[in-house]
Symmetry: C2
Subunit: 190 residues, 2 copies
Amino acid sequence: MPRWEPDARERLVRAALDLFTEQGYDNTTVAQIAERAGLTKSTFFRHFPDKREVLAAGQDTLCRLLADGIAAAPGSATPLEAVAAALDTAMTAFAPGRRDLGAKVEAVIAASSELQERDALKQVGLAAAMTEALLKRGVPDPAASLAAGFGVLAFQRAFARWSDPANQQELGELARQSLRELQAASIALS
Amino acid sequence: MPRWEPDARERLVRAALDLFTEQGYDNTTVAQIAERAGLTKSTFFRHFPDKREVLAAGQDTLCRLLADGIAAAPGSATPLEAVAAALDTAMTAFAPGRRDLGAKVEAVIAASSELQERDALKQVGLAAAMTEALLKRGVPDPAASLAAGFGVLAFQRAFARWSDPANQQELGELARQSLRELQAASIALS
């Protein structure tokens, strides 16, 4: 039976992020992350398979929230309306209290090719989750893949804005705003 | 001075693909790939850093061809016209003589999570190369990111069709066709 460690996961994420920021991703070990969090290495490994996965914590939750949001959108919703509803719900449920982490996460990823790889995988995973949920609603391909692509771009742009300490808007609001900008831009593509 | 090994790179790709197909990606070593290709391990490492990179061979070339194609499109071309021209040129220059590899590559990637990760990275890399080339043409963001996203989806769909042995169309033609389908689908998104 694992000991009861309140917020262990959150503490590990924050410790990893601080260490990656201070001394670089490559120079940071799992042992150091656990120590900084006041936890053991075995606790770390109950939560994450390796240090690379720490910053992807929550990807599965995010994928599930987005897919549920798309499934729950009204039957009359267009593909992009379903994506907008899903982003709004998922961002609001996912992000509260984590705003201070945003800018750190962005900086740490920008400094590590290994974390950039993990981030690429996350982008593709989010797109796949939304595509699948749209196909289940009866949206045909390639419309489903395209709408999911809009959703990923909206998420990325919203997250970058939200991570700016000067920005006061909520992540859900930023995601909707980004999606509207993408829709407007799409008209001028061809 | 490395010895002269005609087509070493191509032979390594084909050997790796055969071994991944026969015995699985995880069970295949660099030594086996080199042996099957009739080359030494050190020759392998002159061409690729590890076995994961073998199937990403050519990604840099593809990115360069796409970026050059976007840069070379007429000044009057819309963002998607520039992407279409780039895909057409890049696919035609990139793919000849490799059609027999397509289906094997698709099957091997589908069977390995490590290769799926590498493939995700490739998708994001292609998108970044096209986005950057579009920004250099003066296409603003988010239109540049969106058009690049269309380009990546068109490439993926075209490659999947081209890999079907029953298909007789050229990859460039399939890419243009896929891009037209994406444009048509985009109208019904919102």
